[in-house]
Amino acid sequence: MGAEVLTVSRDTKFVHLAWQREEKQLANVKYPMGSDTTGKLAKMFGVYDDATGLSLRGTFIISPEGKLMNAEVNYYNMGRNIDELIRKFKANLHLAKFTAEGCPAKWTDEGDKTLKPSAKLVGRVHEALSK
């Protein structure tokens, strides 16, 4: 879909190489695996855990202009849902093209109902989404 995915942990690039080679779940990984050995990037994004020196499970979507559009951070034992990530990414692409629209909660893909905020829509969101 045209996004650059970049995974990051505090492991060195050597460990990334070994892991990608060993773990069959990663056999199809094509994206760069970033190495944040000092924790500087994790601290910048607020996912650095002082107690362990590791980073929490944070996902951040950054626009081509460098603006942070979404942030999701989970504690260690909770994985992130990739369908939700794809949904958010697609919504970002849609809203970048149609800047006067809004993607409501049930929006999942192109073609789903969006909202066009205006004075007419005030107090009438239910009707707009039920049409």
């Binding site: 045209g2 996004a3 650059e4 995915v5 970049l6 990051v8 942990s9 505090r10 492991d11 690039k13 050597f14 460990v15 990334h16 190489l17 070994a18 892991w19 990608q20 060993e22 773990e23 990663l26 990984v29 094509k30 994206y31 760069p32 695996m33 970033g34 190495s35 944040d36 500087k40 990037l41 910048m44 994004f45 607020g46 996912v47 362990t52 590791l54 980073s55 499970r57 944070g58 996902t59 951040f60 979507i61 950054i62 626009s63 081509p64 202009e65 460098g66 603006k67 942070l68 559009m69 979404n70 942030a71 951070v73 260690y76 034992n77 909770m78 994985g79 990530l85 990414f89 970002n92």
Partner: protein, 58 residues
């Protein structure tokens, strides 16, 4: 007790400062480097995915 969060994770809408990371690139089978500056120049959306450690689960 509350702390002001000055970190980016709490500041959706902020401009992300440039960063550079050393990488392992499975598609090339080699090490490399990636920077936000280059991604922006190539007009790419970036999805940054932090996780605790290699060789763990979830």
């Amino acid at each position: 007790m509350s702390e002001t969060c000055a970190c980016l994770g709490c500041n959706v809408g902020a401009t992300v400062p440039d960063f550079t990371l050393e990488t392992y690139e499975p598609s090339k089978g080699d090490f490399g480097e990636i920077s936000l500056e280059t991604l922006k120049k190539n007009k790419k959306w970036t999805i940054l995915f932090f996780y605790p450690a290699d060789f763990t689960f979830v």
